[in-house]
């Protein structure tokens, strides 16, 4: 590598920092998720995202998260930047306790036997879903299962 090469790579770094910067809140989101990482939890990974009506005011967004033992499909509806409705579907179907964790507070609910749950009004905030081991549920979790933090 010559000095010229290094100089050009430094210019490239500046270019990518200017044209495609990391989201301003990404580090805070990671730290929010790390608060639970010390506990024994299982991390769900995002599998796919579907956008519907992305150009309109009423944007619906469906995100699927998966881990070894369980998957959860989450649909957000309502105008971005305001409180939104979150509908979730746990697969395989199980009546698990679900927590919607935000930096300020947590909301809790229990899924029905079909694995469906909802939070009628969330955010706007950073939100992380936590599926808790629940006695009698069809899926026997040994530890909490968590999603990455998403901005609602």
């Amino acid at each position: 590598m010559s000095d010229d090469d290094r100089t050009l790579e430094a210019r490239l770094r500046g270019m990518w920092e200017a044209t495609d910067p990391a989201p301003a809140d990404l580090a805070e989101r990671a730290l929010f998720v790390l608060e639970l990482a010390g506990l024994e939890t299982e991390l769900l990974r995002m599998q796919e995202v579907e956008l519907a009506g992305a150009r309109g005011e009423e944007t619906a967004r469906t995100v699927t998260f998966e881990s070894e033992h369980v998957a959860v499909m989450v649909t957000l509806s309502g105008p971005p930047g305001r409180a939104r409705r979150l509908d979730g579907w746990i697969s395989p179907a199980a009546a698990l306790d679900v927590e919607a964790r935000t930096p300020a507070a947590s909301a809790r609910t229990t899924a029905d036997a079909g694995g469906r749950f909802s939070f009628p009004s969330l955010g706007p905030a950073l939100v992380q879903l936590v599926l808790h081991p629940t006695g009698g549920a069809a899926v026997d979790l040994t530890r909490p299962v968590v999603t990455p933090a998403i901005q609602i």
Binding site: M1, S2, D3, D4, D5, R6, L8, E9, A10, R11, L12, R13, G14, M15, W16, E17, A18, T19, D20, P21, A22, P23, L26, A27, R29, A30, L31, V33, L34, A37, G38, L43, R45, M46, E48, V49, E50, L51, V63, P148, A149
Partner: protein
């Protein structure tokens, strides 16, 4: 090679040293050091993840999972001095995994893969803010995808580990250095065209 390795310390070394200090402080029990480490290195991991053509959402997810991986494996990191490298390799591995899986399922899934880099609409603000960046971006966009990917990785990694890059990009280890230089030369040619045009 003994030539051309002069010209002062590599510009990114202070960055890597700072991250190593944060990591050691955190492992020694200073809880705030984790915040410093995450804020310092997250932008770099972002660019490494985006080099793989991941959408913004998928890249955000990959970066978060890299940090979770570190939190769980912190005690097993054998070279704390190389923590940035460790994090970059972890991020590349996860990004490559997401790309592979997405290609297997549906090669055109737009929500996960965004091969073309930032969409033109996103670039519009940057064009106004920074002409030089916009000109460079347009030229980089004309490079073969593999060049774009490799250049973005090596631009952000302090001392890129060619072995793991080779596995992820399916390129022989020995060809990465020469390819990196060829890509830079190609880019220089494209940029020279711009200069000639503006000289006229």
């Amino acid at each position: 090679m003994m030539t051309t390795e002069t010209g002062g310390p590599p510009p990114r070394s202070r960055f890597a040293d700072g991250a190593a200090a944060d990591f050691l402080d955190w492992r020694a029990g200073d809880a705030d050091a984790l915040g410093r480490l995450v804020r310092r290195v997250t932008p770099t991991l972002w660019h490494v993840a985006r080099a793989y053509g991941l959408s913004r959402e998928a890249a955000e997810d990959v970066v978060q999972s890299s940090w979770v991986t570190l939190a769980r494996a912190a005690d097993t990191v054998r070279e704390p001095q190389a923590i940035v490298s460790w994090l970059c390799v972890t991020t590349r591995r996860e990004a490559a995994r997401v790309v592979r899986r997405t290609r297997l399922e549906d090669s055109t899934e737009p929500a996960v893969l965004a091969e073309q880099g930032p969409p033109a609409a996103d670039l519009a603000d940057a064009v106004l803010a920074d002409d030089e960046a916009a000109a460079l971006w347009r030229r980089v966009d004309q490079l073969p995808p593999r060049c774009r990917q490799l250049l973005r990785i090596v631009a952000f990694e302090d001392r890129p580990d060619y072995r793991s890059i080779s596995a992820e990009l399916s390129m022989p280890v020995g060809s990465i250095g020469p390819t990196r230089r060829r890509c830079l030369d190609k880019l220089r040619e494209l940029l020279a065209d711009d200069t000639h045009r503006s000289d006229r």
